[in-house]
């Protein structure tokens, strides 16, 4: 049991080192073709809810290492700053923080199913169910 846990931890450590490019994705059914870094920052800092004429449904990955890279590159903010920003919106009833997906597979499934959904992934995890709208490097 302990041994498997160690392997898992090692695997997680390796993947986090391997994050090269983080990409922002929407459903392949979405009408949105591309997003600017500013648009992504506005969405993930709660300044804008609008996406392709509808209300954006945002997703986070529960894995802090890729989350960290995404927020740093897209918004220039640390995870504690992001927590403070979303706490403001959450406790004033003006916005709910992004939903958290447990892993990239679950994230892709949720995004593929919802034309208003937005998320981010390591570029190596992208497949045909989702569409890349911004590459962060």
């Amino acid at each position: 049991m302990k041994f498997t846990a160690k392997i898992l931890l090692a695997a997680i450590a390796c993947t986090s080192l391997a994050y090269a490019d983080v990409v922002v994705i929407v459903s392949s059914k979405s009408s949105v073709a591309a997003l600017s870094k500013e648009q992504v920052a506005d969405l993930y800092l709660g300044k804008s809810q609008e996406l392709g004429g509808g209300s954006a449904v945002l997703f986070d990955l529960s894995d802090d290492s890729i989350k960290n890279v995404f927020y740093d590159k897209a918004t220039g903010r640390s995870l504690s700053q992001i927590k403070a920003t979303w706490s403001k919106l959450l406790f004033n009833g003006k916005g709910l923080p992004p939903k958290e997906a447990a892993n990239p597979a679950e994230l892709k499934k949720a995004i593929a199913a919802n034309p208003n959904a937005v998320g981010y992934l390591d570029s190596s995890a992208v497949d045909a169910s989702v569409k890349v709208v911004l590459k962060l490097d």
Partner: protein, 397 residues
């Protein structure tokens, strides 16, 4: 004991709900804090709803609190939110109060209406003033934020989000009623209770790293307290009806307006507000402002704040009949809470979702005020400048 178990009971019920349904979310916030003032002759409080404050020994009462918020999403359009907060309150207890309890209905992606108990949008930071974790400093500067004893109202508001060029605009009209209780800043903390019909509009614009805010709240306010009621009765008995009428706070038009600006590029933080309270009787008209600047160095954010509140209406009347003059003018003088302060502080984001803060403030009574916003027995003569030290741990969960 009874209160504590009630809070825990609520928490348990809410967490169970959270575990059962995806549409039910529970969040919370808490601050554990200690403050100490450089004198025992006066007391510092963070809010005029606190009937006493910190003197020259460590006191957790001014800023410590626990809040729990539950939201239930009935559909994509309809949701309900309830927020309860336990903190040192006007009754000198920590019994929880219902701060917010409202239904929120989305008419369209850009327009929602809310009804129930709602936050009063009086300041730039009104919406998250209770959640200290979201603020750089230990608390909203008291010169500006303690001007109103009202933080919520029962009524309706609307949130209309639109874009003007590249500015994300939120326009929030509101209408409702608020009952409130506050304590005067005399040493005994004399309680006043009041009611207000409120209406107003709040506009927030966000563009890039900038947030701009302007708001106006109009109100018809009535306030009663035992000492003022006695003074008014005494004045009427002496035939000084016009002075009595001026002192009575009975359905008086009052207003609160302000503008604010905030900048945050991830490293550099700046925030400033200018606010104006227009009141009546023993409550002076005040203008108040603050400027905050901070700089993030990794997990550390050193910051500085300059703030001032100034009473701009007369704090003494010359036409009060002699036997009552000292009482009435004593009351008016106590309403002069003019002060300025300079604060230096440090925020340390030392672990996930928890921030530690330390803040030193130099508080100086100003413009003829005997003790500024500090609680004080004015018969002891004017108070000198004082030092205030606060340590806080803030979290969200």
């Amino acid at each position: 004991m009874h209160k504590i178990s009630l809070v825990i009971g609520c928490g348990v019920v809410l967490s169970c709900g959270a575990a059962q349904a995806d549409d039910f979310t529970v969040s919370g916030f808490a601050t554990l804090s200690a403050s100490r003032l450089s004198t025992d002759n006066a007391a510092f409080r963070s809010d005029s709803r606190q009937p006493n404050g910190a003197g020259n020994s460590w006191d957790a009462a001014p800023d410590s609190k626990v809040g729990v918020q539950g939201s239930y999403r009935f559909s994509d359009k309809l949701s309900a939110t309830v927020t309860g907060i336990a903190q040192h309150n006007v009754n000198n207890t920590t019994s929880p109060r219902i701060e917010w309890a409202y239904l929120d209905y989305h008419l369209s992606p850009s327009l929602e209406i809310r009804a129930g108990r709602l936050g009063l949008p009086a300041f730039l930071a009104s919406d998250y003033l209770n959640v200290n974790y979201t603020m750089t400093a230990v608390r909203g500067p008291v010169e500006v934020y303690s001007q109103l004893p009202i933080s919520h109202f029962d009524g309706v508001d609307a949130l209309w989000r639109t874009k003007a060029g590249n500015v994300n605009l939120t326009v929030q009209p509101m209408l409702g009623h608020a009952d409130f209780k506050a304590a005067f800043s005399d040493a005994a903390g004399t309680i006043a209770s009041g009611k207000a019909d409120v209406y107003g509009v709040n506009v927030v614009g966000e563009v890039g790293n900038w947030t701009l805010r302007a708001g106006y709240i109009g109100a018809k306010v009535s306030i009663e307290s035992e000492p003022t009621d006695q003074l008014i009765a005494g004045l009427q008995g002496m035939g000084a009806g016009d002075v009595a009428n001026r002192l009575a706070y009975n359905k008086e038009r009052s207003s609160f307006s302000g503008i604010g600006i905030a900048y945050d590029n991830g490293t550099l933080i700046g925030q400033s507000e200018y606010t104006m309270r227009r009141a009546h009787s023993f409550l002076a008209d005040t203008n108040a402002w603050y400027v905050l600047g901070g700089y993030r160095l990794g997990k550390f954010t050193p910051y500085a704040i300059a703030a001032q509140q100034k009473a701009i209406s007369p704090t003494s009347w010359s036409d009060v009949p002699a036997p009552m003059s000292s009482f009435v003018n004593g009351l008016l003088a106590a309403g002069n809470t003019s002060q300025r302060s300079l604060s230096l502080g440090m925020r340390w984001d030392f672990m996930k979702n928890v921030a530690a803060k330390a803040q030193y403030s130099r508080i100086t009574p100003d413009h003829g005020s005997s003790a500024g916003l500090l609680m004080y027995d004015a018969s002891k003569g004017p108070l000198n400048a004082q030092n205030l030290l606060t340590f806080s741990l803030d979290t969200v969960f």
